[in-house]
Amino acid sequence: MTPGVLEISGGETFLFWVIAPLMVLAALGLLFVKRAVHAAMCLVFVMVSMAILYIAQEAPFLGVVQVVVYTGAVMMLFLFVLMLVGVDASDSLTETIRGQRWIGLLIGIGLAAVLGGVVGRAAFPPARGLEGGDPGGVANPQALARVLFGDYVLAMEAVGVLLVTAAVGALVLTHRRRLTPKQTQASVADARIKALPDGVVLTPLPSPGVYARSNAMDTPALGPDGEQVPQSVSRVLRIRGQERPAPSSTAVSVHTPEGDA
């Protein structure tokens, strides 16, 4: 091996040939999968694989950043928005532009052909590798930091400003102006008191009757006057018609001579 020329190990070759087809397959999934959530999962797979390839390519810092930023932050944001918008928001299949699918496919294949042709015909220099460069070179994160905060420090600052602007912009864009005053506990209580003449009950509803021979939830309680109290049965049961008749008031009054106070 000549000094300064990168020799790619067999392990890396194996890794590449295992991961690259899977990546292409997952990326194609992005194109063909129906549901947006599945597409997001495919993209997560591509990004994690990409991180593995970065680490294999002597870029451990970028590999970690790829996992943290892309799979950790960006894809989670995608999933959040998918949940907000609705998971069922699948594609409409009606074509608004006629022949768009075939034209798009044609353009995509053409782009692939052009890129492949360029890569295939370009004359690349023999790969040097980062470790085999200058002997005084340091390991990856330090070298990266030296370039980042040395040559590109102004760009670094600009990117920081960009991030803050983007965060504020997202806040402004998703901010919803409140159209009605905020409901507090006090305002809810006031509203209920105000609605008292309209027949609103302030106290909790009466609980259902408890009898030995039936499920208590579906039998109405008996009032002090021996009449059934329909509100004591859950509204759902009443609507479904699963309410049971209470024992007759006379029978109850016989068995409970003391009655209600």
Binding site: A40, F78, A89, T96, I109, G116, A155
Partner: protein, 99 residues
């Protein structure tokens, strides 16, 4: 194995991402296609950094990542806003400017 295989992989992924942008209707999936394209360029950057023995390519990939994060935040916020007013995430339904 030749190191240009990585560049070929990046080109393939970029083309798939571009096709996704062209073909899909759901705005969120279109955005995912853009992300795939950005990732593909990053892979090319990292490969070229290794090829030339210079870390600058990795620095540029890092900047691409940061800008992509900012772009995603604003883009998704726009999609959420559009969805709130139009009840749709399809790119075909956004034709407010049509006369």
């Amino acid at each position: 194995m030749d190191i240009t295989n990585y560049v070929v992989l990046a080109a393939v992924l970029f083309a798939i991402g571009a096709t996704t942008v062209l073909l899909r209707r759901n705005a969120i999936v279109v955005f995912m296609g853009v992300e795939l394209m950005l990732n593909a360029t990053n892979l090319a950057f990292v490969t070229f950094a290794r090829m030339h023995g210079d870390v600058t390519g990795q620095v540029l990939a890092f900047f691409v990542m940061v800008v992509a994060a900012a772009e995603v935040v604003v883009g998704l916020a726009i999609i959420v806003t559009i969805f709130r007013t139009r009840r749709s995430a399809s790119v075909d339904d956004v034709n407010l400017l049509r006369g």
